[in-house]
Amino acid sequence: MSKSFLEVDGLFKIYPDGQGGELTVFEDIRFALEKGEFVCIIGHSGCGKSTILNVLAGLDEASAGNVVMNGKEIKGPGLERGVVFQNYSLLPWKTTLNNIVFAVRARWPEWSKEKVKEHSERYLKMVGLDHALNRKPSQLSGGMRQRVSIARAFATQPELLLLDEPFGALDALTRGVIQDELVKIWEETRQTVFMITHDVDEAILLSDRIFLMSNGPNARIAESVKVDIPHPRARATIFQNPAYHKTRDYLVDFLVNRSGSALPEKDGTPKIVEPAKGVAQSTPASFDSETESESDTAARAVNA
């Protein structure tokens, strides 16, 4: 088996439980991401999704296990991994533009001032904020702030983007609009994205695969669900695809009925599930759909 872009191997997170014992939040987390994949992870609150993401970001340390990206072990944060935090984390004393400039300059210190500015403005334009360059974050709505935060992450062109419930604090309307924008940016850039969400529809709209986590403590990534809907996708039309409903039913059933007891394969890798397999596509696939061999239990990319 060839090495994947990102390999997560046997992650544990263990805290003291306050009574002399131990609390294992999650155990033996194993998965792999391929370049250009969009993967969402869903699980009930407290199962450890943010912790996993922070370990990938290098902001937190696992109690055991390791993460290897591009053949190098991750030890601490780095510019090749961009993070979008749930609470935006913009620097409030900087203007919209300067928040991006800050990141771009850190990424390419050798660039000229003009080049940095031009690059930053391009990404702000992508999220439709070129009219608010000189406003401070406090003068922006929640949705606009999250757009800036997304622009900042994309502008540094990291090899891996980590998004922790980026739309969690937004109202449904705004969320929809920004989801569409994210789809658009992703279609353009094809970044590798790992995203946490609580929203099943959002996960289907965006991902190639969805990881399902069982409940904590001792949570696992039990299943890897393939989303067999061709790109480009759009929020308005995705409902027409029969694969959408199959996938959605499967996810909801997992979260409601099976998340307490679900287990991964014996070797610790997530079970690969294709709920929409065999469902006729209403729109022809715009890419060569690979035929996944059933015996290959490793989580492999669909469109690497």
Partner: protein
């Protein structure tokens, strides 16, 4: 309807007129009944002068002093501007020295829980000491009254700056620190581009408290060490029983204190941010 500001200004002026009027009336010399009493004749009318002077006398003096604030006619006769200048010079010197120490040390304490724990006991013991209590020790060690006064300013203005810097730095939102970390900023760049601007409002609050305390303390310190400065001037005029000068310098102390505070307030506005 006039704006709130206009009405407030009108009210302020009325209060001032009322207060000055009451003061003027309360300090009128009693009607000379039958000329001078025997006692007053003995005193040569000197008793008149030891009365609290009316505002008109203070204003007259203020006009004279302020129209030539920088004259220098010997050790005991210098213009109010020169005296205030000495005091401001001492305050700023002590204050800047305190800043040079308080900001880096505050940063260190704020960033390192170890240093915080190690230094905290000393800070807690030293902080409540009245700055003037240091004066004898300072005079003995430094052997120079001017430098001792500056030292006292140094010691009294260091604590609010130190503690506020430490507090501000320690409480920078972890999210912002994480932004610096994910962008691979080194410790120095993180300190300058993220932690300093994030903690600046808290640090400036400490600096503003410090300058206020320093200005309070300089008056007392100069009364002790003598020679020059507004504190010495007040005390000297009291010894001369020149109460109009005492009142005038009290007002000037207030005005300069207010200006110092205004300056720091302006600086505070510059670094403020809304989340």
């Amino acid at each position: 309807m006039a704006s709130l500001n206009v009405r407030a200004a009108l009210l302020s002026v009325s209060f001032l007129i009322l207060a000055l009027g009451l003061w003027e009336m309360a300090t009128q010399p009693p009607e000379a009944q039958t000329g001078m009493t025997e006692y007053e004749m003995l005193m040569g009318g000197a008793d008149q002068e030891s009365r609290v002077p009316p505002p008109s006398a203070v204003l007259k003096l203020a006009w004279a002093e302020l129209s030539n604030p920088f004259y220098d006619a010997g050790a005991n006769d210098k213009g109010i501007g020169i005296q205030l200048g000495y005091s401001v010079y001492r305050v700023l010197t002590g204050y800047l020295a305190a800043m040079a120490i308080a900001l880096p040390v505050g940063f260190l304490i704020g960033m390192s829980p170890l240093m915080y724990k190690a230094l905290n006991p000393y800070i807690q013991v030293l902080r409540p000491i009245s700055p003037l209590a240091w004066m004898p020790l300072a005079l003995f060690i430094i052997q120079d009254s001017d430098a001792s006064a500056i030292f006292v300013i140094f010691i009294c203005s260091i604590w609010p700056m130190l503690l506020n810097t430490a507090f501000g730095v320690a409480n920078v939102r972890q999210d912002w620190v994480n932004v610096a970390r994910t962008h691979e900023l080194g410790p120095l760049r993180t300190a300058i581009t993220v932690i300093l601007p994030a903690a600046a409002p808290t640090i400036l609050t400490g600096m503003r408290i410090s300058i206020g305390i320093a200005w309070l303390v300089i008056v007392a310190a100069e009364m002790l060490v003598g020679g020059t400065g507004i504190g010495y001037y007040v005390w000297n005029e009291w010894n001369n029983l020149d109460l109009a000068s005492v009142i005038f310098s009290i007002l000037m102390i207030g005005v300069v204190g207010m200006l110092l505070d205004l300056a720091l307030g302006k600086a505070q506005k510059l670094v403020e941010y809304k989340e």
